[in-house]
């Protein structure tokens, strides 16, 4: 198992290194999005504006969003699309499966991996 883990880490590092240059080249335009009027939307009900966790407003939290590259200077409110109606698929995927109700399920400790990461990718 250790060998498999080592191979996996190797693949990750190689992939990251090979594509680092491409990623840096793409960062420019995304970092230039403009700060817009702020409207409070909190679809996951944690008390924190979704714009702080989902900068491009596609419903997928930044940390899980392949679209998102962190803008230099911190999260702030540089969200390009976050103030328009959010219809990213992520905002639907997260609500389709899981414990009943709003925040009344296991939440923080719902594990990861085989127990159903796919449905947790969105809010």
């Amino acid at each position: 198992m250790n060998k498999i883990f080592a191979v996996a880490i190797g693949i990750l590092l190689a992939g990251s290194a090979a594509l680092w240059g491409q990623e840096k080249a793409r960062e420019g335009p995304r970092a230039q999005v403009q700060k817009k009027d702020f409207r409070f939307i909190d679809e996951n009900g944690d008390g924190i504006a979704d714009v702080l966790m989902d900068h491009d407003g596609d419903g997928v939290p930044n940390k899980q969003d392949p679209d998102w590259i962190k803008a230099k200077g911190g999260p702030g409110l540089q969200a390009g699309q976050a103030n328009r109606a959010s219809f990213g698929k992520g905002s639907f995927r997260g609500g389709q499966v899981g414990p009943p109700g709003l925040g009344a399920g296991p939440g923080l400790f719902d594990g990861a991996g085989p127990k159903g990461r796919m449905v947790r990718r969105g809010r």
Binding site: M1, I4, F5, V7, A8, I11, L12, G15, S16, L19, Q22, E23, R26, R39, F40, I41, D42, E43, G45, D46, G47, I48, A49, L52, M53, N62, K63, Q64, P66, D67, I69, P75, A85, F87, G88, K89, S91, F92, R93, G95, Q96, V97, P99, P100, G101, L102, G103, A104, G105, G107, L108, F109, G111, A112, G113, P114, K115, R117, M118, R121
Partner: protein, 389 residues
């Protein structure tokens, strides 16, 4: 030899998925490590650690997304419980004007245990649909439907279930959020609960139960009149959240669930740590749950969440059993306190997290009175392949 074959299979899957990822819009790998002192969540604790691996792909084409998920959970102390999962799905989003959208999804998934719990091997197929509309710029109405057909190796668990929900969210400039949701759910067991108990090898039991009670966990109750069994429930829930500045939020939510008809067609039910169990799910209980949560966005992209959940659940049709497994006529009722904390640190392509919990479960059935800590740590890497512009 078996372990070597498993390693080779895992490696091949990993490499294959990596190759496929070149064509995917998003691709991620995850590794989580769990540690629990009570795997079977009974008064006779059994410790274990679990390593789980996951590979996730997402490919968009013409408004249609293909989602794929491969996973494997390795139980170190109880290797027979190790299982693999595979999921494949499609979803589509269709906007209606500027304020509304429909969402449709279809998918299938499989779960395959290594040896001991082969009876719980399952295939399931799911259809989901949702409609979301902004009633006002800060009000969201959402209607959702989910239908699932699940087929198990041990056919007594086969079921068809349906969940419908209606939710209304309202957000205020004061950083206040109010959410309400009403849900209806029905689970229909497809097997006619009649005739003799089938002699199916590999029926899972609760190992190590005290006083010889360990074997009763999955023995179904048969209705001599025949016919399928179903259980129907409804729930109402509400949530209030408040932002304290822009980086700290607190929320309080409550849920009440009623069983409208039917009951659990089993003599006993239980839940396990990390293992999905068809007898213990969102359909099996009635009662209430309250939850509080503190979320803080800390410097250096660290997210901290601390939560407490209290629940009081009854299980219709389930009675407290004697040490010999005979019903006592006393309904089973569980109350549970659950403390949780979680830290997530996000890098541009990497997330690492650490979570811990402590559960105190009190039950009218002494077998299910237990308390235990658990720890979970993990890492997820998201590839930069195919990033959408």
């Amino acid at each position: 030899m078996i372990r070597t074959k498993m390693k080779i299979r895992t490696l091949v899957l990993l490499l294959l998925s990596t190759a496929l990822a070149v064509r995917a819009d998003s691709f991620s790998l995850a590794y989580d490590h769990h540690s629990t002192r009570n795997l079977f969540q009974t008064s006779d604790p059994v410790s274990d650690t679990v390593s789980s691996f996951g590979i996730f792909l997402d490919k968009d084409k013409g408004g249609l997304s293909l989602l794929a998920d491969l996973g494997y959970a390795l139980f170190h102390e109880n290797p027979g419980l190790s299982f693999g999962t595979v999921s494949l799905g499609l979803d589509h989003l269709r906007a209606v004007g500027t304020r509304s959208a429909f969402y449709f999804a279809a998918g299938g998934s499989g779960r395959f245990f290594r040896s001991e719990w082969k009876a719980l091997d399952s295939l399931s197929f799911e259809l989901a649909a949702a409609f979301k509309t902004y009633l006002a710029p800060s009000s969201i109405l959402k209607v959702q439907s989910r239908s699932v057909y699940a087929s198990y190796r041990y056919a007594l668990f086969d079921d068809l279930n349906q969940v419908l929900s209606l939710s209304l969210d309202k957000f205020f400039p004061s950083l206040t959020t109010l959410k309400t949701e009403a849900s209806w759910r029905y689970k229909h067991f497809l097997h006619p609960f009649s005739g003799p108990v089938p002699d199916v090898p590999g029926i899972p039991v609760i190992p190590g139960g005290p006083n010889g009670r360990g074997g009763h966990g999955f023995v179904p109750i048969f209705d001599p009149d025949g016919g399928a069994a179903g259980i129907q429930s409804a729930s109402l829930s509400a949530l209030a959240a408040q932002g304290l500045g822009s980086r700290v939020g607190i929320s309080l939510s409550g849920l009440r669930q009623w069983t409208l008809s039917g009951e659990n067609p089993f003599s006993s039910i239980t839940e396990f740590y990390f293992v999905k169990n068809p007898t213990f799910d969102e359909f099996s209980w009635e009662g209430w749950v309250i939850n509080s949560l503190l979320t803080a966005l800390l410097p250096y992209d660290v997210e901290c969440r601390v939560g407490y959940t209290y629940s009081d659940k009854g299980f219709p049709g389930i009675e407290v059993l004697t040490a010999e497994g005979e019903p006592t006529g006393v309904p089973r009722n569980d109350t549970r306190s659950l403390f949780e904390a979680r830290l997530d640190k996000t890098f541009p392509r990497l997330t690492v997290f650490l979570a811990c919990s402590w559960t105190d479960n009190r039950s009218t059935d002494p077998l299910f009175t237990w308390s235990s800590p658990a720890v979970l740590a993990g890492i997820e890497w998201r590839s930069p392949f195919g990033r959408k512009e």
